[in-house]
């Protein structure tokens, strides 16, 4: 799918820690293999048991909107034609305590409410530095 903020908009700078999230086409969250603690953003140490046996696991790809704000001021030139747009915090199903950020696509931005159920969809892009394919997680409303 084309990108919510335009195909020319900024892409994440890939790191070892965020590559699974931004390239796999799944909502990948870091878990501790010793104690099953989930954490986002990922880190080098488990924040629960302080172990280092950490691995990414795919979650079901659904979640709930914890907060949603309408952005009116275009902070980047490429956003001039895109405001207002909606930014959300989503709690990820299957990864207790983990919230991620994103946009909710496919609906008027002002229609996104706290508590709404959402499902992941993915935007196609390329990393300008390496040409690597990106699948940037986004969210769409789930109709009950």
């Amino acid at each position: 799918m084309t990108r919510y903020l335009g195909d020319e908009f900024l892409t994440p700078t890939l790191t070892e820690q965020n590559t699974p999230f931004f390239t796999s086409g799944r909502i990948q969250i870091q878990f501790c293999d010793d104690c099953d603690h989930a954490q986002q953003p990922p880190d080098d140490v488990c924040y629960s048991c302080q172990g280092t046996n950490l691995a990414f696991r795919a979650t079901p790809g659904t979640g709930s909107v914890e907060s949603a704000v309408l952005v009116h001021h275009p902070i980047h030139p490429a956003l001039q034609e895109r405001v207002p747009y909606v930014v959300v915090v989503v709690s990820v199903d299957g990864a207790p305590g983990c919230n991620v950020t994103g946009n909710v696509v496919g609906c008027p931005p002002e229609s996104v409410e706290i508590g709404a159920r959402v499902r992941a969809v993915f935007e196609e892009a390329k990393d300008p530095a390496t040409g690597q394919d990106l699948l940037i997680p986004q969210w769409e409303l789930v109709q009950d």
Binding site: Y4, L5, F9, L10, T11, P12, T13, N18, F21, F22, Q40, P41, Y47, E66, S67, A68, V69, L70, V71, H72, H73, I75, H76, L79, R82, P84, Y85, V87, V89, S91, P96, G97, C98, N99, V100, T101, G102, N103, I114, E123, A125, I136, Q138
Partner: protein, 388 residues
């Protein structure tokens, strides 16, 4: 109760709209420190410690050389964040002079946002700075502190039934107090509730007037021991307590469920009240850093001033406006309306209140509190007693 170190001098440059300073950032820093030394009755060569925060670009080595310090024996900067550490400069200075490591320690902050980048432009965040949570927001157009604080504020208002008027109350108080302060960049620009509501949205629930300015300028304070202060001509303002650090509301990652929504200031309040043996209602005048109005109302609640459900009434009906307010608050106009020198100008104002020379002077100030920027950890605060 500490009561050991004292502030003996404060200094500022002129404050400008961002990009308007004719001086470089380094010149502004030197001006503020020279003014603070003159205020204290000290020779520049006697200064021997320098503390700043927020990755200040003005190296202590360069300042000590330029200003002719005999010796630089203490320099420090707290880790992480931004204006959250404004009051921490005074804690580090207190530690240095009470520990005997330095005699006259300067806390300073200088910025020329024309010469360098503007914090609010999101540049630092886009290049990987800022809280860890923000880097993940880049492809979603989530790039600024305003947006991040808005996400917290929106959920908090939703949970507690807080309306836009609570945010307006903060902005109106700052603008009203700035009208008494000729140094304020917004002096002569009164704001009405209608103006507030009519102003454009930046990111809901923040209007333009919910957001701090972007300014050029510098501020500095000089800390020493009470013994050394006795030999100086001016007033000495005691540091009764300071707080800096992380609590259970740790805020390591901006949107983690454990800490969302929150401003991470419960621990700052707890430390200040316990260390000074006082309660929020004992404070005579409060300077509470406004990056945005939402974090201010949230921090007021986290620090124990009122419950979230009460914050609209607590801040309403002019409760924060003027020297005779129910809670005299941001009496110079604060970051919103005096100048945004990343909150250090508010610490200077807290000292002025203790000395009795504010443009919005509260009667009989016994306890004057300055709180650093909520929303980013580690938080900080400093409590001053009456000048002697």
């Amino acid at each position: 109760m500490h009561g050991q170190a004292v502030v003996v001098g404060v200094g500022e440059s002129e404050y400008y709209k961002h990009g308007r300073s004719p001086d470089t950032e380094f010149q502004l820093a030197c001006t503020a420190i020279k003014n603070a030394a003159e205020d204290a009755g000290l020779e520049l060569r006697q200064l021997d410690g320098l503390i700043s925060y927020m990755d200040d670009r003005n190296s202590p080595l360069r300042i000590a050389a330029a200003l002719g310090f005999d010796e630089l024996s203490w320099s420090a900067t707290p880790w992480a964040g931004g204006g959250n550490n404004s009051s921490a400069t005074l804690q580090f200075a207190d530690a240095a002079v009470c520990g005997g490591y330095a005699n006259y320690v300067v806390g300073f902050r200088s910025l020329a946002q024309g010469q360098f980048y503007r914090l609010g432009a999101g540049t630092g965040v886009a290049s990987g700075g800022g809280p860890p949570g923000l880097g993940w927001g880049l492809p979603y157009g989530l790039m600024t502190p305003a947006q991040e604080c808005a996400l917290h504020t929106k959920r908090w208002m939703h949970d507690h039934g807080v309306s836009q008027e609570a945010l307006a109350n903060i902005s109106l108080a700052c603008y009203a107090n700035a009208q008494l302060n000729p140094r304020a960049v917004r002096y002569g620009q009164a704001l009405t509730r209608e103006d507030y509501h009519a102003s454009r949205w930046i990111v809901e629930p923040f209007h333009l007037f919910d957001c701090c300015q972007e300014n050029d300028g510098a501020a500095a304070l000089i800390v020493t021991t009470p013994e050394r202060a006795k030999d100086l001509p001016g007033k000495a303002v005691p540091i009764l307590a300071t707080a800096q650090g992380l609590g259970p509301e740790i805020g390591a990652n901006a949107f983690q469920e454990r800490w969302f929504p929150g401003m991470y200031y419960g621990n700052v309040g707890r430390m200040i009240w316990e260390r000074a043996g006082v309660k929020p209602e004992d404070i005579d005048v409060l300077q509470l850093y406004e990056n945005f109005t939402g974090p201010v109302v949230m921090a007021l609640c986290e620090m124990g001033y009122c419950e979230p459900e009460e914050v609209e009434a607590f801040t309403g009906d002019g409760a924060l406006e003027g020297p005779n307010a129910r809670l005299p608050f941001n009496t110079s106009g604060g970051n919103l309306a005096e100048a945004y020198i990343h909150g250090l100008e508010m610490v200077v104002e807290a000292v002025r209140q203790s000395r009795g020379d504010s443009t919005c002077q509260v009667d009989d100030v016994n306890l004057s509190l300055a709180v650093g920027g909520p929303g980013y950890a580690p938080g900080s605060a400093v409590l001053f007693g009456p000048a002697s």
